[in-house]
């Protein structure tokens, strides 16, 4: 027994998914044999099934966003491990629409490989399949990282926008183009003041001296390339926001969507404090904060930290973002 509440099998995921499916039986269905979750309802106009997935431990991502207006299916892997291709293949086959299925994939080698193999199998089975790659993490934006920027918090924004677009009947190519453009206009930066606890051992995944921050941490608890000393949250948020704005350079009329995201065990008091600071910085920089989210959307088990995501939108993207959705973790 570790500090995790589990049955001693070391497998948190299948038990969680069974409970999740019972809790949200009006919205989702779970296939325990093939390990994927599908939506009970989807807009009649939708012609392309939307599917995402990745390692578990990031809840509510992805299964929490399965439902009307967002995903048709999610494939959760083991904790921090991408799903396997069979899971993705079968889920894709189950939810493909007349115009095929779209994979929303966070940019990690494992996810790319497994989704890639599944895509080959789908092509083989005559099912059209497209991919949108989410790669918003500013900390991994470096020439030295051949794998490219990681996908993190923006995933939920991309899923929401694509859900709204898919509900208008948009076809596969349109969705790939839209999703790729939207993902390209998102950047995220994450910090942590303490590591998550590894489920296997119950121990912190890395040691961080008090007063130090992991600046640019990954959602799997990959450490950043450096540690820096903790500052007042106002200063920290200003630094982070300026880095994001520097990469995105929104125009004065561009509507910006902000996501203040808890990575697990940061309190809601702190997240709202962070949002207050972010609002002040954006006001001072004359950025038009059009929409915002504050809460746990893309977590890293019980990591003590938060991420900031900014998305530069336009009228059409905002409309898709505002479209109704009803999923376990997104209502409105």
């Amino acid at each position: 027994m570790t500090r995790y509440f589990e049955n001693g099998t070391g497998e948190l995921v299948p038990d969680a998914l069974a409970g999740f499916a019972r809790a949200h039986a009006d919205l989702v269905e779970y296939d325990p044999a093939d390990g994927y979750v599908t939506a009970r309802n989807t807009a009649p106009a939708r012609t392309v099934g939307l599917l995402s997935g990745g390692g578990s431990g990031h809840e509510p991502l992805h299964a929490g966003y399965v439902g009307a207006g967002m995903l048709d299916a999610a494939c959760p892997g083991r904790v921090f491990a991408s799903p396997h291709n069979r899971q993705i293949f079968r889920a894709s086959r189950a939810v493909a629409g007349p115009n095929g299925v779209l994979h929303i994939v966070k940019n990690y080698t494992g996810d790319r490989i497994n989704f890639g193999i599944a895509a080959e199998r789908l092509a083989d089975a005559g099912i059209a399949c497209g991919r949108v790659l989410v790669d918003d993490d500013l900390a991994s934006d470096s020439e030295d990282i051949a794998a490219g920027r990681r996908g993190t918090g923006a995933t939920v924004l991309v899923e929401k926008v694509l859900g709204g677009a898919a509900d208008t009947g948009m076809g596969l190519d349109g969705l790939v183009g839209l999703g790729t453009a939207v993902a390209g206009r998102c950047r995220t930066l994450a910090v942590a003041s303490a590591a998550h606890h590894a489920p296997v051992t119950g121990e912190p995944a890395f040691a961080l001296p008090p007063g130090e921050l992991e600046y640019g941490v990954g959602i799997h608890g990959e450490r950043a390339d450096r540690t820096r000393s903790q500052k007042q949250v106002g200063v920290l948020v200003e630094d982070m926001a300026d880095a994001l704005l520097g990469a995105l350079r929104p125009g004065p009329d561009d509507p910006v969507v902000a996501l203040v995201n808890g990575l697990g065990s940061v309190t809601s008091l702190e997240l709202y404090g962070v949002f207050g600071e972010l609002g002040r910085v954006l006001d001072a920089r004359r950025v038009r904060l059009a929409r915002h989210l504050v809460g746990n959307y893309v977590t890293a088990l019980d990591m003590r930290g938060f991420s900031l995501t900014l998305m530069v939108a336009d009228r059409a993207v905002l409309d898709f973002y505002d479209a109704p959705a009803r999923t376990p973790a997104w209502q409105g």
Partner: protein
């Protein structure tokens, strides 16, 4: 030289010892991935050999070397995610195909051919080059050793491959990573070997025996 081929029994023994090596070192592998990645490599690899064991040990178990390796490949490809699951699956698939395609079964030649093909597939799919601090850095020297040992019997050739792979593992310690999760940590991972490379070395070592602990094989060990 059919005597020089691994028959189904020896192939399955090899896989059993690989399984035992993975279980024995699972915690060490996890710990390595904790330091350079996200701490799931031990779990992923153990899940792979467990799923493979279920296929290998069925009553209607596969008969020949090619079939046995094919069952292992299927387990990894169909049941295991992560980065390493499908990549190990590709390697086993290539080894199975080579055994199948060789008249004499799993000869040294077939091992060399399968490993080379597996390496090529892994590089195609994962895009890593030697020096990126991935399992490619253990697999490439293993493939080279097998090619060089063409005239030796399989056991000796695999022993040479294991030596090459462990050397590759040690070499990864001095690298910073360009691929895989370790690449996000920059200079911080210097000094720590790549866990996926260790997994490859465990595979080749298992032809000769079970590895119970990594320390003797790692830098400073």
């Amino acid at each position: 030289m059919t005597t020089a081929a691994f028959d189904s029994t020896r192939t399955r023994d090899w896989m059993r010892r690989f399984t035992a090596s993975v279980y024995a070192t699972e915690a060490e592998l996890t710990e390595l991935d904790q330091r350079v990645g996200d701490g799931d490599f031990g779990t992923n690899l153990a899940a792979g050999v467990r799923a493979a064991g279920l296929l290998l040990d069925r009553p209607e178990a596969p008969a020949g070397s090619a079939e046995a390796l094919g069952a292992v490949a299927t387990a990894f490809l169909d049941e295991i995610g992560g980065t390493s699951g499908p990549l190990f699956g590709l390697l086993f698939q290539a080894l199975s195909r080579a055994a199948d395609g060789s008249d004499a079964g799993l000869t040294t030649g077939a091992l060399a051919e399968g490993t080379a093909q597996g390496l090529a597939a892994i590089r195609r799919v994962g895009g890593a080059e030697p020096g990126d601090k991935t399992l490619v850095d253990a697999l490439a020297p293993a493939a080279a050793a097998l090619r060089a040992a063409r005239d030796a019997p399989p056991a000796a050739a695999l022993a040479a491959a294991a030596d090459g792979a462990w050397q590759g593992v040690r070499d990864t310690a001095s690298l910073t990573a360009r691929r895989g999760r370790a690449s996000y940590l920059g200079e911080r991972v210097t000094g720590i070997p790549d866990p996926g490379a260790v997994g490859v070395a465990l595979l080749f070592s298992a032809a000769a025996g079970t590895v119970r602990t990594l320390a003797p094989h790692l830098p400073g060990g």
